[in-house]
Symmetry: C2
Subunit: 344 residues, 2 copies
Amino acid sequence: MRIAQIAPLWIPVPPYTYGGTELIVSWLTEELVKRGHQVTLFATGDSKTSARLVPIWPKSLWRANLSIPHAAFSLMYEKLFEMQDEFDIIHDHCEFYTAPYSKFIKPPIVSTIHHPLYEEIIQLFKKFPKINYVAVSKNQRKSAPGINFIKTIYHGLPLQNYPFNKNPKDYLLWLSKITPQKGPIEAIEVAKKTGQKLIISGNILKEYRDYFEYRVQPLIDGEQIQFVGAVNFEKKVELFKNAKAFLYPIRRPEPFGLVVIESMATGTPVIAHKEGAMSELIKNNKTGFLVSDQEEMARAVKKVNQISRFACRSLVAKKFTLEKMVNKYEALYRTILKKQKNEK
Amino acid sequence: MRIAQIAPLWIPVPPYTYGGTELIVSWLTEELVKRGHQVTLFATGDSKTSARLVPIWPKSLWRANLSIPHAAFSLMYEKLFEMQDEFDIIHDHCEFYTAPYSKFIKPPIVSTIHHPLYEEIIQLFKKFPKINYVAVSKNQRKSAPGINFIKTIYHGLPLQNYPFNKNPKDYLLWLSKITPQKGPIEAIEVAKKTGQKLIISGNILKEYRDYFEYRVQPLIDGEQIQFVGAVNFEKKVELFKNAKAFLYPIRRPEPFGLVVIESMATGTPVIAHKEGAMSELIKNNKTGFLVSDQEEMARAVKKVNQISRFACRSLVAKKFTLEKMVNKYEALYRTILKKQKNEK
């Protein structure tokens, strides 16, 4: 098949450090190329791929620090509009940026929703029943009745890149984008409450620099609470596999949370707020704990040794592999194209 | 003429407090209605107009605090796309949101650019030579060669709503959106350096709450440096007319700066950084001072009594009235429609 993959432009594909969506787009793209498809990746020029790359802007938008990043997305869809006849199917990962163009683009569009669905998005997407929306969890799908979801496909990862470790070191891990919604301060408080060492890893966006400087940094002592900044893939895997537990005190209906399966893949249990899709990813008391607040999270930290690290790994191997994910997308593309053919 | 005015959705039209663009859109809309046109205003439901209102979202986006405000803009252009046959001409004020739709909309589009033109915007707009772009200053127009600017039209205000005051009180004024680019901290430093009283008025956006709390607020003592928050139109005019001088230490190429003419209309001189269109709005040494840095701004404050407040008022009466502005837009609409007719 001639497939266009449309990546968000914020972060290179694959990401240099943080970037769940971009990691998924990269893995999916490379695997589709391996399977013999003609894949074109729309992304920024600092991306690396074995597919054909259509570079929309030289640098990814967080790095380029554009005043009006929206303009770059418009440039991308202009380009897609021009090139549309070169594709059998378009797989989009940019969500709300796409919808309006869908009317004017002929090949069928598959759109994976990577973010929570807010009311304004739901209203918008309802206007575009032609787009084939894919949910990344049952929870996400349920949250937005009326949207043309044709499939739920869990994210999957290349297990061989996440070595299993049964003997972790003695620290807790928090790793994400540094924003209030991802709960770095809650993680710190839990670590202090339980007397545990905590490593914090993450990138700081421009709009959250003051948040980091004034609210998070004063809580970091460099000993019990350590900050290691944003890290690359290899370092990230090291952090995951050596952690005793991964803390995920999120405050939004996370539709998936790639870090959760990354952590479990290396054998590290996850203690997360019971939000969004967490109960689909984590088996409570088996691969981690689902908790409601800081008190509960602190109690869970104390009993994390009860969790079998092997069970964590097994769950990912069973439900969340890259192969599984790509099989499903490939099948979906074929179904859509077949349906389209029959309609003609 | 059947005219659609497309307002940005961030702020009600007219604004409850801060909002230069929304004030212009409101004045323009009301004046066009008065002149007998059939005007339709696309804006949020908390707007007030004598035109027909198409409410896109119940509350304006800053007030509604949407997670994905972009979705509301997409909903608006979907609506415009549906209703397009009802209009002879579309006057848009949303800049980069519009461009991609312009291909699929039949009536001619006039697009006034209210913001600085960054490289990414320039690249985008060059792809849409069908849109009739209007610059709000010569400086703005010059900054973006290659864009289809068909006219430069200065903003204008209803002079009768800005009473002239020749006897100000003894304070300096800073009034804007509280962001680093608008220079509230610089204004405070100038006030402290010159021993003058300063009133700061402005709204605080969510993303700048920490900036305000940690960087600006500690400098406010409630006596020499006073903060009065965001104010409505009447209170704003009071603040302007009683000020000894208005400080505008901006750090971006401001394409116009409505506050500058609002201040001068009441007789209050403006001391501004020599950025963007400032030299087109302010007559140096006559209606205020154009300065390069804090030192110069402090020196200018000391000689502000040399400025004739009457000269400030006269300049606005001569160059920047609402009547003048609407005359020009009306003439432009007619020219475009005539040209379109001739081409058919």
